[in-house]
Amino acid sequence: MDIKAIRNDFPILKNSDYVYFDNAATSQRPRQVIDAITAFYTETNANPLRGLYAWSVEATDRYEAARERVSRFINAGSPEEIIFTRNASESLNLVAYTYGLAELKEGDEIVLSVMEHHSNILPWQMVAKKTGAKLVYLEPDAEGAFSEEELAKIGPSTKLVAITMTSNVYGVTTPINKIAKLAHANGAVIVVDGAQSTPHQKVDVQSLDADFYAFSGHKLLGPMGIGALYVKKTLLETMPPFLTGGEMIEYVTRESATYAELPHKFEAGTVNAADACGLAAAIDYLETIGFDFIEAQEQKLTTMIYERMKEMEHITLYGPTDPTKRSGIITFNIEGCHPHDVASVLDSEHVCIRAGHHCAQPLMQYMGVGSTARASLYFYNTEEEAERFLSALTKVRGWLGFGS
């Protein structure tokens, strides 16, 4: 596939000399996604699920078609198992506030990993505080893998396992299938944070045997402000609603209400239909490119960058030593240089990277670093961009007064 042709689809990349290596924070959007959002507003804008006229009916159809598209994308059992949210954080909060608060009690254990993004830690801290359940952390090795000993922390007291499929710091993919088996054997459910995995690999929630799977649209070419939560139907049927209000009800009297059918019960208020259409267009685009190509391109560039950085002086690399296991993520530090200064130097060379704790402070503490710099790639990045990034790296220490 021709990278140049791909880049032509992305207005922001086409006419810019910026090297965008912060894809783990958010991706760029192709024209097809921007067009799908515009099409909704210019062709059929009306409040979905309510109206009795053509525009509203069409708005509803497009919104539900987007749900069906998401459902096929991750191979859910049916579209009813897909709830639209704002992002993965909201999806995880939804699980915590509904299933978590309803099902957990004092003495139960919630197992999560030290590699989690704050979005998959804070909701469980809240559940633990309110229910008296206990948090148990799995600790990975330096490459992000869990030993059998660590996994054995999932036991008879475990009621819920919350784990990332791909770490946003190490880039390593966790063996969800194996962890799901362990959780289910102990009568627990598994909540998977798919924010970082869904953009980079084919996900099949049924073969993973995930009970809950959360992801954001904006990291996989979709708009900001739309995300999804997959919930196994048997669980969804017993869960209390999250937010209450408009269009999630069946009957309302002054004192009580009965709720709408699934999944509308979990989508209170006017929905984000235009961005759902954008997300569907993003999924179409990704599947046209194909995950085989996406993985191959990311692995090629990640390997090239990783091998070259390994040879450079004063650089510490974190995470897997096998660059094909990094999902396009390279987390590093330069000796004597704070990551923020590194990012500033790179910015002056028009290279965009992330610096800080990456919303993973427990992992930073575990790694024994205050913060790190992170370059994260996507399939539209090029070798030429990789060269510019590597060349900018060599300037950092000189800029900051070392060796000159």
Binding site: H340, W399, F402
Partner: protein
């Protein structure tokens, strides 16, 4: 001034060879300040005599070059000043960051004026102001 010049002319010297990076045995004031999102984390210490004059300022902790240099420059500036004079310097520095400082305010900032262009960069303003915010809080208590 572009960022590279700022680093070369002012930040690097104070970051690599800070004059005030030490721990005082019996500080009159001590306060920790942090930018949780970046990981900048400093502890300021001051010795203030009975005459109300800041005789010594010191800091420990870690952070980016801009936050470390800004802290060192600030401590250099406030030694020998009264608490009120130090607070006036904080006010001037904040005015500089917001682009509203008068000529007089800029003048009393002396070397710290060099941070003007860093302070205007939205991504780095927090690094430059950390020490100053911490000082203000410490003296207000």
């Amino acid at each position: 001034m572009d960022l590279k010049t700022i680093y070369r002319e002012i930040v690097n010297e104070h970051n690599l060879h800070p004059e005030h990076k030490e721990s005082l045995v019996q500080p009159t004031y001590e306060l920790q300040g942090a930018n949780p999102t970046c990981g900048d984390d400093i502890t300021l210490q001051l010795e203030v005599g009975e005459d109300g004059i800041i005789s010594r300022g010191a800091f420990t902790g870690s952070g980016c070059a801009v936050s470390q240099a800004s802290t060192d420059i600030m401590l250099e500036l406030i030694e020998g000043k009264t608490k009120d004079e130090a607070l006036a310097l904080v006010k001037s520095f904040m005015a500089m960051v917001h682009g509203t400082a008068t000529e007089e305010e800029l003048e009393i900032l002396d070397e710290a004026q060099a941070l003007k262009d860093v302070a205007h960069m939205p991504a780095r303003a927090k690094c430059a102001t950390l020490a100053w915010h911490t000082l203000e809080k410490m003296l207000a208590e």
